[in-house]
Symmetry: C2
Subunit: 165 residues, 2 copies
């Protein structure tokens, strides 16, 4: 979900500006950790535990349209590493219901680690999630993974559509 | 979790008695669906959507002791089909933190379907969960599965300990 369906980078930028008055451009983030571009990374990290952070995230361009089409052709599961932030669990569920109403509860999983997930194809922004996956691995581009090598990379949902639809 | 770590049968009995004054003994439940022994199955089903139902469930005898030992020998994940009851997500997380404090958030997954779970051994009370699993399947005895054939069955956590420790 995060950085693939939900625009968490923009959410970090917006919440940081609201809290400090400092605007950090996404252009400065390439190759750094998710919080590494901000003068106060611990403040950014603390946002992840705040009510409303995940629930108000914007949808990443094209994700609704393409996932709705994928959902007709494939057995789609939405798997989110959400367990570190327990307050996010109902928020993420409601966010999916609102923005991806064609995804049924049977298709949703919130986990701590994606090591226990099996499937044919995984689309993810984090190498740590793709690492243990047995199927085809697709790295969804995000500022924090621009330097990653050796993975099939997609830059946006149009590229996912071209590859899988 | 349910019927394996959390005593949901007892919770059904207690909540039903509280709501209707009618006590249904667990002895009458063998071979019936989880709600099938109660005069009003829909009322029982509605409990699953009520705040507090999962959070106040009693722990199944021996589960804490044996899972703590399993956790030293194996890489343990707690996987619960919780997504049908979204209000249960934070409750189940807190229930685990309270009753199984040695289980870290990295080891927890809440899903809609267990079809996407991989692993070496699955202990579960529902055939529908074991059905798609690629590893060793262990059926944990519950009233609703007494008639199931063809699975390795354990009747309690002492038997799990004998088998796996």
């Amino acid at each position: 979900m995060d950085h693939v369906m939900a625009n968490i980078t923009q959410q970090f930028i917006d919440w940081y500006e609201k809290a400090t008055g400092i605007y950090i451009s996404a252009d400065t983030m390439a190759g750094k950790s998710e919080t590494g571009s901000f003068p106060d990374p611990e403040l950014v990290w603390s946002f992840l535990f705040k009510p409303g952070f995940f629930g108000t995230a914007k949808v990443i361009d094209g994700s609704q349209r393409v996932i709705e089409e994928l959902n007709k052709k494939y057995e789609v599961f939405i798997v989110s590493s959400a367990m570190e932030f327990p307050q996010s669990l109902p928020e993420k569920f409601e966010w999916l219901a609102k923005n991806f109403p064609f995804i049924k509860w049977q298709q949703i999983a919130f986990c701590g680690s994606k090591k226990l997930i099996k499937g044919d194809i995984m689309i993810d922004d984090h190498l740590k999630n793709l690492e243990f996956f047995d199927g085809k691995k697709i790295l969804f581009a995000a500022p924090h993974n621009v330097l990653a090598q050796g993975y099939t990379r997609v830059n946006n949902w149009d590229e996912v559509a071209t590859m899988l639809l």
